[in-house]
Amino acid sequence: MNAWLYVAFKEIVSTWRDKRTIRNVLVLPVLLMPLFMYGPAFLMSDLEARTRTGIQKVGVVNLPSEVLELFKSANLEPVSVSDPRAAVESEEVVAAVVYREGNFEIFSLESAKPVKAGLVVAKVRRALDEYKDHLVAKSLAEAGLDLSVLEPFSVEERDVSPEQARGAGMLGGMIPYFLMIFIMMGAMAVVIDATAGEKEKGTLEALLATPVSHMQIALGKMFAGLVFAVVTAVSGLTGLLVGGTLFRSFAQGETFEMMGGSINLSAGAIALLFITAVLYAAFITALLVAVGMYARSYKEAQTYVSPMYMVLVVPLLVLMFASDFLNRSLWLYTLPVFNVYLAFDQIIKAQISTTALLITWSSTAIFVAIATAWAARNFTDEGVLFRN
C-alpha cells in the first residue's frame, strides 16, 4: 500500500472514532435536514388541507341571503357581528365581511397571520366571485345575451419543463445548496483535525520526519477529507430523498406538491451528480488542507474556515432564488463553486448541456490542481509548518 493510503486510512479511522463529529456531521444532518427542508411546506400543506375541509367562522354585516348560502356551501360559518374589526382583532372570527352600498369589505389579520387568514380570505373571495358570476349571468340573461360573450377565448398553460424540473420545483433549488454544504461539512470534519489539529497536538513533526514525501502526506490527508465529504454528501442527500418521500406520503394539501422538492434521477444523472460532487469535494478538501496547514491550532483554523465558508456558500443562497434570471452563458460554468451549483441544479432538472458539464468538470479539475499544489506547498514550506 502506498504511504498516502496509510495516511488517509489513519485519518478516516481517527475521524470515525470521534463520536461527536460523526453525530454532528453524519447523523444529525440526515435527520434534521429533511425536517428543515420539508417540514414548513408540510405544515403549510396540512394547514391548507384542514382549512379547506374545516369550517371557519366569518363575521357578517348586512350580507345578502344568497351570499350567506354560498358561504355555508364553502364551509364558512356566518356569524352576525356588530363591530367587524373588533371581532377579527379579538379572533372571535377569522375574517369579517361587510356589505355597504354595492361594496363588499373584507376584514382579516392577513399580515399578522398570513397562512390561516390568507386561506380563509381566499375562501371568502371564491364565494363572492361565485355570487358575482351569478349576478352577471342573471343580468346577461335578462338582456338576452349568452354567458359566452364574457369569454370570447380561453387560455391554457402548458409547462413543457422536463418531468424532473417540474418535480424539483422551488425546493429542488435548495438541494444543490444542501449538497454543497454537506460536502464542506464532511471535508471539514477530517481536514481541520488532520492539519491544524496535528500541529497543535505535536504529531505532525513526527509524521514529517518519516521517510515519506510530504506530498504523499498531503495527498493522504486530502483523500481522507474527500472520502468523508462524499460520504457525508451521499448520506445527506439520501436523508433528503427519504425524508421527502416520507413527508410527501403524509402531505395532504396542494402547497407541498407546488413547492416541489422531489428528485427523479436516472442512473446517468446520478453518475453525473456523483462525478461533479467528487470534483467539488476534491477542490474544497484541497482548499481546506491548504488553509488548515496555515493555522497553528484547531481554534485558529476555525477562524480561517468560517469566513471561507461564508465566501463560498452564502452567495449560493442568492443563486438559489435568482438562478432563473441568469442568462446561462457558458462562461458562468468556469467560475469556481458557482459552476458546480449550476451544474447540480441543471442535472437535477435534466437540463444540463454536455458542453456546460464538460466546462464545469474541466474548470473544477483545474481548480483542484491549483488548490492541491497550494496545499502540498504548505507541507514543505517551513514558514507555514513552524509559524510562530
Partner: protein, 248 residues
Amino acid sequence: MNSASIQTKRLRKSYRSADALKGLDLELFAGEAFGLLGPNGAGKTTTLRILATLIKPTEGDAWIGGHSVRSEPLAVRRLIGIVNGGMGLYERMSGREILHFFGRFYGLEGRVLTERVQWVDQVLGIGAALDKKVQEMSSGMMQKIVVARAILHRPPVLLLDEATRGLDVFARRALLDFVQEYKRSGNTVVYSTHVLPEAEEICDRVGFLHLGTLLFVGSLDAVKERYETDSLERAFIKAAEEAEGAAA
C-alpha cells in the same frame, strides 16, 4: 565517515529577524551520546530540525550516514528517529496502532513489524499501554509510545529535543536509562537540553550552543579542565560570559 555518524559544515540558519545558527561545525560518531546544550533560543531545536530535514539550512550542509540533509532528505529520514518534549500522539488510536502506522513508513510489515513492536515493548516496558487508547494513557506512558515510535525502525541516529519535558521522576529515569542503553548498542544519540545535569549523566561529549554559535565541544573531562569547574552548569555560564566579553 562512519555511516551512523553526523557531520555538519558551516551550518547557518537565518530567519527574517535574526540568525538562529551561525556556522555550526560538528562531527558526531557512532556509539556516542552528544549533549547539545544551551538555554532557550540558543539554536538547539533549529539544529535538530535541520538534522531531521524538517527545515533547510540557509547555508552549509549536514550529513547523516553520508546522506545530505539538503539533497537526500528521504535517505536521512530512514536513519533517524526524533523525539521532542512537545510531541503528541493520535488520541483516538492505541499505542499498537500508532506503532503499526509509523512502522509501515519504514517498510516494516507483517511478522517483522510484530517483532519490532515486541522489541520496543521489551526495551521500554510499555506493557498494557500498547493496547490502550492514547486518551486513556498517563503522560509517562505516552512518552514511552513517543520514544517507541522514534526507535521502531532501529535508527542509527536518535535526536532527542528536551525529551524529558513534563515527565514525572519515574518516566524521566526510564528515558535516561534507555538513552544510555541505546548508545551502548552502537547508535548515535543527540541529546538537546537546557537541563545540564541530565546531559552530565548520559553524554560522552557536549557542545555549548549560545545565540547560534558553538562555544565549546569536548568530553566532560575536557569541559572541567577548560573551565576549571566540576559543574557543567558553571562551565556553561563561564563559556557564555567569555563569549559575551569577547563580543563586547
